[in-house]
């Protein structure tokens, strides 16, 4: 069964069209992440799925039922918001219980569900507190608890971690992954953080300007991006794109090469100067300006003593290179130009 099916969904605000012909399926139990730069329409798409915005055109089905015109509370979804959105005047317990109470569930069921969720998220000690008396991380757990209590067919997360600090973000990320395994529920997760996307997703949906650029498993997108946008969006540090620095590259073609696939070599095909060095302990990132004035990043494992200002020549394996045409489309197979060795 499919947890969610979107068919040709459009969304406009007045004259401005923010979602263009979105078609997508989410399988049962799948963890799907929407990524894309700010303003690309991720939240809007999530809100269309939740029913908080009406789609201008197209159909939305959840768990096999068409819900295009069904109000949010009846769609069998639960949502976790970036700002937590807890009810300030209710205790943690009542925050979690409200949805079920509104559905008219029997008291015993409500109690049992709240107890289950609070146990799962270690919130037992805080049930009587008001949200104002909790830390940011605890609030976000309550918000997640509120979603779990409703036992939804589909979980929706809108950037749930972006208000947390780095350490807490990592912990909560692991917790959400564990939750997904325990509940084996279908989840949609919106983020603009590609690390969250890579680490959590079964399937990533890359969005740009309200269009789907590519859909696939994290490693498939990483190793086989359909276009320059996807190639540049996933991966940190981002992929290097070179047009002028490599001899023999046809006019209008861009060479894409990930920072970890570049290496210093005495007879490399790129020459340049080190402009900055970032030593992270486990890795070393060299920022290089090529002799043609393009900037690139080189990532080396372990520690490296190259000083700033040193001249370098770099090379790569042909199998690791990507080529894109002027429109950003990836060139594959016979379309790929070959770059002669130096």
């Amino acid at each position: 069964m499919t947890a969610l099916r979107l068919e040709h969904v459009d969304k406009s605000f007045g004259q401005v069209k923010v979602l263009h012909d979105i078609s997508l399926t989410v399988e049962d139990g799948e963890f799907v992440v929407f990524v894309g730069p700010s303003g690309c329409g991720k939240s809007t798409l999530l809100r269309v799925i939740a029913g908080l915005e009406d789609a201008t055109a197209g159909r939305v089905s959840i768990a096999g039922e068409e819900v295009t015109h069904v109000p949010p509370a009846k769609r069998g979804i639960a949502m976790v918001f970036q700002t937590y959105a807890l009810y300030p005047h209710l205790s943690v317990r009542d925050n979690m219980a409200l949805g079920l109470k509104q559905e008219g569930a029997p008291r015993a069921t409500v109690e049992a569900q709240v107890a289950k969720a609070s146990h799962m998220l270690s919130l037992d000690d805080y049930l009587k507190r008001r949200p104002a008396e909790l830390s940011g991380g605890q609030r976000q757990r309550v918000a997640i608890g509120r979603a779990i209590v409703r036992d939804p067919k589909l979980f929706l997360f809108d950037e749930p971690l972006s208000n947390l600090d780095a350490a807490l973000r990592m912990n909560t990320r692991v917790e959400i992954a564990a939750l997904h395994r325990t509940l084996s529920a279908s989840m949609i997760y919106v983020t603009h953080d590609q690390i969250e996307a890579m680490t959590l997703a079964d399937k990533i949906v890359v969005l740009r300007d309200g269009r789907i650029e590519q859909v696939g498993a994290p490693m498939d997108l990483y190793n086989d991006p359909a276009n320059r946008f996807v190639a540049g969006f996933l991966g940190s540090p981002a992929m290097n794109f070179l047009e002028r620095s490599v001899a023999g590259l046809p006019e209008g073609v861009t060479l894409g090469i990930r920072p970890e696939y570049l290496r210093p070599a005495p007879t490399g095909r790129i020459g340049g100067t080190v402009t900055h060095v970032e030593r992270l302990g486990s890795d070393t990132n060299l920022l290089v300006e090529t002799s043609q004035g393009e900037r690139l990043t080189l990532r080396m494992f372990g520690q490296d003593q190259t000083p700033v200002g040193a001249p370098v020549t770099l090379d790569w394996d042909d199998a690791d290179a990507f080529f894109f045409d002027a429109t950003g489309r990836r060139l594959t197979g016979a379309d790929q130009p070959s770059v002669p060795a130096a």
């Binding site: 939740a50 949010p72 509370a73 979804i77 959105a85 807890l86 300030p88 005047h89 509120r146």
Partner: protein, 279 residues
């Protein structure tokens, strides 16, 4: 060290300014209250002296209480003020919620139209209002005053409240929608508690002019049984003689209920500010 001393010094300066301002603001009230307890002669001889054994007199209060229906006037003023505030807050908040929350055609135009009332004094329409009240048979009822004051207060209420409601987190309202709260519950249970400070502000802004108004009671409800306190007190102010004892006593009494209302609203104000919204 230096900063600690500096901050004490600023605190002292700030308090000095505030205390001075309080004294200036309270001075007229103080003069009214002390003189209401003095004989007529003492009022004119030494207006700033406190009442002593010689000059103490309750004659003003006696006149006020003897003067027919002073309690009725009191009650009328109270009913008009509280009912008007209730309707201003209720309808103002509802209109503000619609303007702030829903996208519909002419939303902005509607907001501007409602705000227009802030700039046009309602008294310009007195003749038309009087004709309307006569036409509907509401002259000499408290409803006439309540309706007029509600109309008078709504523009500013809508303006202030819609600005505050736009600040209430969309996520919170959406969470309510997903949990199955109706739009009414979202309005009453989620949004109103969060804009309580703004409601208190609107209430305080509207309360004093309504309580003190002489114009509309005089024109729309001058009958004995609908007189408000301000209008009722006018009997003591004559063209040739004014019973100052009675005027001062009536004014002193009139302060009490407004103060009570103010205390209620200001507590709301403070509670609203301290509880705050949760991010």
């Amino acid at each position: 060290m230096a900063t600690a001393r500096d901050s004490t010094r600023t605190a002292i300066a700030a308090h000095a300014v505030l205390i001075l301002y309080t004294l200036i603001a309270l001075f007229p009230v103080f003069v009214i209250v002390i003189n209401s307890f003095k004989t007529r002669r003492a009022i004119f001889r030494e207006p700033l002296a406190l009442p002593d054994a010689d000059s103490f007199s309750l004659v003003g209060y006696e006149t006020v209480l003897r003067q027919g229906d002073f309690f009725l006037y009191f009650q009328n003023s109270m009913i008009v003020t509280v009912a008007s505030l209730f309707f201003i807050l209720l309808f103002g908040a509802m209109a503000a919620f619609a303007l702030a929350e829903y996208r519909f055609r002419f939303n902005t135009l509607m907001g501007l139209y409602l705000a227009l009332g802030i700039m046009i004094p309602i008294r310009i329409g007195t003749v038309a209002i009087l004709e309307m009240m006569v036409g509907t048979g509401l002259v000499n009822t408290l409803w006439a005053l309540i309706l007029v004051y509600t109309a008078q207060g709504l523009p500013l209420a809508v303006f202030i409240l819609s600005a505050f409601m736009k600040g209430v987190s969309d996520d919170l309202k959406n969470a309510g929608r997903i949990d199955g709260l109706s739009e009414y519950k979202i309005f009453f249970r989620l949004v109103l508690p969060l804009v309580r400070p703004a409601m208190a502000t609107v209430a305080v802004f509207n309360m004093i002019p309504i309580w003190n108004d002489l114009w509309f009671p005089l024109i729309l409800a001058p009958a004995e049984e609908t007189k408000t306190l301000t209008l009722g007190s006018q009997v003591f102010i004559g063209q040739f003689v004014t019973d100052w004892n009675a005027v001062l006593s009536a004014l002193s009494l009139a302060i009490l209920p407004v103060m009570a209302l103010y205390v209620v609203f200001s507590r709301q104000l403070i509670r609203g500010i301290t509880s705050g919204a949760v991010k």
